[in-house]
Structures are given as structure tokens and as C-alpha cells.
Symmetry: C2
Subunit: 341 residues, 2 copies
């Protein structure tokens, strides 16, 4: 069974709903690429069935509002492409069963021009009937692994990730353990999508890359601060690792080729508009990461430690800002457009 | 805009999830009829599209578990009918956007043999693409009106429903106001379903009838007890009416004929297995009604009065039991199977 890691739910101060601006910028930065994919590459026969329904899926939709923004763009471009056909659009918002679908549904745009549906379940598995989907979209989601590679917890192994919570500053064995898990997960992911997506249908991924990897380690260093102050047992940090791997273009090529059912139409590393260089930008980014990671932290360390770690990481905003500047001040994203052969 | 009246959410003592046994018995009593409809009457060409997907909708699914029970039965019978075709089944669980879909999704059967999806929105309107649905099922739901007929609140009208909360013991003008609202709602309902359901596709309704009508008035008499004790202002009771009308076979025939797109394949009044005659049965029934009505009561009277009304109605279980016995001790249901022409 897959473990799920929902974003902070509801609509409160640290909810994902109110702290997802960086993810919105990733989506905005990819708008032209999504458009190029649909207008230039999508090649499905939408007249096949008696109902002229074009079906779109969002994999890892979370609770909004970014997913509505992304889906409206896809819907608009699809309508533009098929302007000479009376087309009905159906959007399936999918995420783990633990996702807060109530918040998602209650914030669906009233003036939407598509039929909306929610699909609970892991994208590391089948979610839709065979050949029923024309376009799949996934933003800031495929980097979530189905689980933490278990060898990271083995004290006797070179993959033991002592004192760290991710692979950002780890040894190559740890990195390889993460890559192996990503490849295993993506094999299942691609097998499922290959069944679900019609020939000529497309799938686009927008995934954070580069600086994002290091940023999560600032939460790790806050945890280690608590260990050094004697407020937290180090074994608890050693047994905690984030279940996320940010794929490189090379990783992506490898998993796509292994599956064999999709062609890479285009793939590029891009930079969203914002730069996150000053201290205020860094704070925004840390609060956003909090909305993403807090559930995981609470689950492992309890809510008191989780709260403390988030607060301490926020105090590092100056350090983080300095580090961001030294690293070009830009957050980088991977964009991939794939076509079902 | 339609108003929504969700069942008590979550999984607590008075939740609908834990208090929906009477509705389960309605579903059980209709199993053979659902089977006869699918095996004997359903006539859809499931091979039309490139994906062999049979799509089922549940209208007014609430939060479970009854809806899973009903859908599994439909899925099993459809598979039996089309045993010579490799068929994939997709079930869309639909209810108002205020419905607790989180609870619904988290209790989906793990071993289900269909793709599950949730669709938020009122069935008094379009929910699905044109000609995309093969079978529609609705149990204990179509009696919910989109709103209370406003003339019930007009002191100067013969339809003023003074001192009552429903039409069970009301004058004929009140009854007619309810019927008129039901007909208006069903016109919209049938227009939507006529677009969504494929030719030869079917729709079945299971709706409580008869004794159920009077039972809700026991909640009304508890409210009037509070008025008579000076604890509640009568105008608050006068301005409260339940938005539900339990259609008779004649009502159903009329709305189906007005729409003209469906044929009535069979329609009958049936009796579920249980009799609800002794005091314990009556208590079960009152607690079930509480799970259904409490949200409406809280919304109008506040949670303190709502709690008091529910508690007082429970104390009337002996009186209710006596009344049930006098009325044959049976709860009656209307079953209708319709086919899209």
C-alpha cells in the first residue's frame, strides 16, 4: 500500500490553499509550453465516441487554487484547437484519498466551462478506464515517491542517511537509493498512464528542480539544531527522510524510454518569473514549504516539534536568502511534454 | 442557486455514515428490481467507443456506506449481463458540493472492481457530458427539493404552513405547493438526465413513501412542544419547512410523461423487510432521521434547539411505535425503472 502525504488541508493560515504562490508561478511559466503541446502535438480523434467528450486529468491536484488555474488554461487551449467541433470537456481532479477533496470541491470555479470530477487514489497505479483520457497534466507532483527507500534507515548500509532528511547534501549511495525508488515508481506510473491515455493523447509534467532540492534541507538543519540543543533524539532525525526525488532531464529520459509507450515531444529546464532573492521572498518560500511538509513532520515528530521546526526555519530566511543569491537566485523547473504512441 | 442539505457528516455517533440502516433496507428490498431492470431492459451498445467503459452514476450518494452496497450490486449485475465483453466499469458518486466527500472517498471499498469518481453538484442541473452515462441510480434522494416553496411562508396565503414543518398533516394548498415545486425540480432533473444518458440506458429511483411522510412531523411536534413551553418563538417554526416531497406513482408518471424522453419500464410500491414496530425499531428510525435532518434544524434554529428537538423526538419512541403499528407497521417505498428512448 502506498503512503500518502497530503498538503496542509482546509483554508487556514498555513494551509496549502493559502500558500501555493510558488507553485502557481511554475504553472504560469509553463503556460506557453502547455499551449505548444496541445496546439502543435496533440493528435487524438475526439469524434470516435458518440459523445464528443474530451477528458483531461490532473494528477496530484491537491486542494486548489492552482489546479483550477492550470486546468482552465488547458481547457481554453483545447477549445481553441478544436474550435470547429462541438466539444464537451470533462476534468478529473485526482490525488491521494487523504487529500482534502471537500476544500477542492467547494472552491471549484462557479463559471467553469467543463464537467468536474474528483478521483481519489495514488497515481502510482490505475485510476481511469483504458483509453479514456486525452490529456494528462501534473504539476509539482511526480517528485513525490510512493515511499522512502528503506535502505536509508539501515545503519549498517552505506545508504544510511544519518543526520539528514533528504539527498541534497548526501553521499552518492543515498542519491542512488532515491533514484532507484523514483525509477520503480515511475515504471508503475507509466504503465498505468500508457493504458489510460488514448493513442495521440498527451501528458505534461511540470516539476521543481535544482534549488528546491537544497531548500528542503534547511528544515533538516532546524531539526539538527534541536538535536544539538538536546531537545530531540537524533535517532528520530536519522529515521526521517523526505519521500521526494526531483528528476533531472536524464532521469526523465530514462524512465520514458524504459516504458516505451510515450515519445518525448519536448523537454526543457525553465525559470519561473519570480526570483526569491530577498528575505521576504525566502520567507514566502519557507511558508509554502511548510504547507507542503508540515503533515509529514507532524506524522513523524508530533505537532510540537513540527511547529518548532517550521518556526526555526522561518528565522533562517536571511541565511536562505543569501544562499539563494549565491545560487543564481532562481528556482528552476523541468517541463516535459510526452505523447502516447 | 440551489440550496443543499447534507446528511450529518464524518463518522461520529449521529453521523449518517453510522445511522443509515433504514436506507440500506430500502436498497436491499429493491435489489431484485434493479437486477430485472439491468438484465431484462437495459439495451445499450457498450462497444461504441474505443474504450469499453460502462458508466454508472449514483445521484445523491451521501457519504456511504449504503451507496457502496448499491453500486456493487449494479456492477455485479452489469458484469453478469455483459459477461462476454471485456468491460471496465466507472462509477460516479454524485451529491451536493457540501456533501462530505472526504468521508465518502476514505471509506471506498478497497476491493472494488470499478473506477471510482466523485462529482460535486446538484442533480437539479447538468453534471455529466452528453450521452456519457449508461445507468443512473438514485436511492432516497429524489424527494429532496431544490428549495422550500416560498408560498408556504406567506402569512396571507392559504398555503401558509403555520405550526407545521411539512405537508403530512397540512391542508391541500400546502400539499399542492409541494407538488408544484417537485414538478418544477423534476422537469430540470429529467432534462439534464435526458442529455446525459445514452439511448437504451436506464435510470432507477428508490424513494421512501407513505409512513415516512408522517414520521418527519414528529420532529415538528417536538418543535411545537418547545413553542408551547415558551422556549421557542412560533414564528421560527412557521418559517421552517422541510424541502422534501415524497412522490406517488401518479406524480412520477406525470413528470416522466411531461419530459417525454424516458419510458417507464416498471414501477411499484414495495415494502422493505424490516417492520419498525417496537419501540427499539422506532428509536433506530428516529436516530436515522436525526442524521438526515439535523443539519437543516441547526441551520434554522441553532444547534441548541436542534439537539433538544432530536432528544425530545427520541422520547416519543413509544408514541411513534404505536402510530407505526396502527399504520401497518411498514415503511413503504416507490421503485421506478426508466429507459432512455
Amino acid at each position: 500500500m502506498t503512503t500518502s502525504f497530503p498538503m496542509n488541508d482546509g483554508n487556514s493560515a498555513y494551509s496549502y490553499f493559502n500558500n501555493s504562490q510558488p507553485q502557481k508561478e511554475l504553472i504560469d511559466a509553463s503556460k506557453d509550453m502547455v499551449r505548444d503541446a496541445i496546439i502543435g502535438k496533440l493528435d487524438v480523434e475526439v469524434m470516435l465516441s458518440s459523445s464528443h467528450t474530451f477528458r483531461i486529468i490532473e494528477l496530484g491536484c491537491s486542494i486548489g487554487p492552482n489546479t483550477f488555474h492550470a486546468m482552465q488554461h488547458v481547457v481554453d487551449v483545447v477549445k481553441e484547437k478544436y474550435h470547429n467541433i462541438i466539444l464537451e470537456l470533462q476534468v478529473f481532479f485526482s490525488d491521494h484519498v487523504e487529500n482534502d477533496f471537500n476544500t477542492l470541491f467547494r472552491s471549484l470555479p462557479i463559471d467553469r466551462s467543463y464537467y468536474a470530477s474528483g478521483v481519489p487514489g495514488s497515481f502510482h497505479g490505475r485510476l481511469f478506464p483504458t483509453r479514456s483520457i486525452h490529456f494528462a497534466h501534473s504539476s509539482c507532483a511526480i517528485h513525490w515517491l510512493s515511499k522512502v527507500p528503506k535502505e536509508l534507515l539501515d545503519e549498517k548500509s552505506p545508504t544510511w542517511n544519518k543526520g539528514l532528511i533528504h539527498y541534497g547534501t548526501s553521499n552518492i549511495d543515498v542519491v542512488n537509493a532515491y533514484i532507484a525508488q523514483f525509477e520503480k515508481d515511475m515504471e508503475i506510473f507509466f504503465n498505468a498512464r500508457a493504458e489510460e491515455i488514448v493513442p495521440g493523447g498527451m501528458m505534461v509534467f511540470i516539476s521543481p528542480f535544482s534549488s528546491y532540492i537544497r531548500l528542503v534541507e534547511f528544515f533538516g538543519s532546524s531539526l539538527m539544531d534541536l538535536v544539538n540543543e538536546g531537545k530531540l533524539d537524533e535517532s528520530l532525525v536519522d529515521s526521517f527522510n523526505l519521500p521526494m526525488y526531483f528528476p533531472s532531464p536524464q532521469d526523465m529520459t530514462k524512465v520514458v524510454e524504459k516504458n516505451g509507450c510515450f515519445s518525448i515531444e519536448f523537454m526543457e529546464l525553465a525559470y519561473p518569473k519570480s526570483k526569491f532573492v530577498d528575505e521576504t521572498d525566502a520567507k514566502t518560500f519557507i511558508i509554502n514549504l511548510r504547507a507542503v511538509l508540515e503533515g509529514l513532520l507532524i506524522n513523524h515528530f508530533g505537532s510540537k516539534i513540527a511547529e518548532e521546526v517550521c518556526a526555526r526555519t522561518l528565522l533562517k530566511s536571511e541565511e536562505i536568502s543569501t544562499w539563494m543569491k549565491a545560487n543564481g537566485g532562481k528556482s528552476c523547473q523541468l517541463f516535459v511534454a510526452l505523447k502516447r504512441k
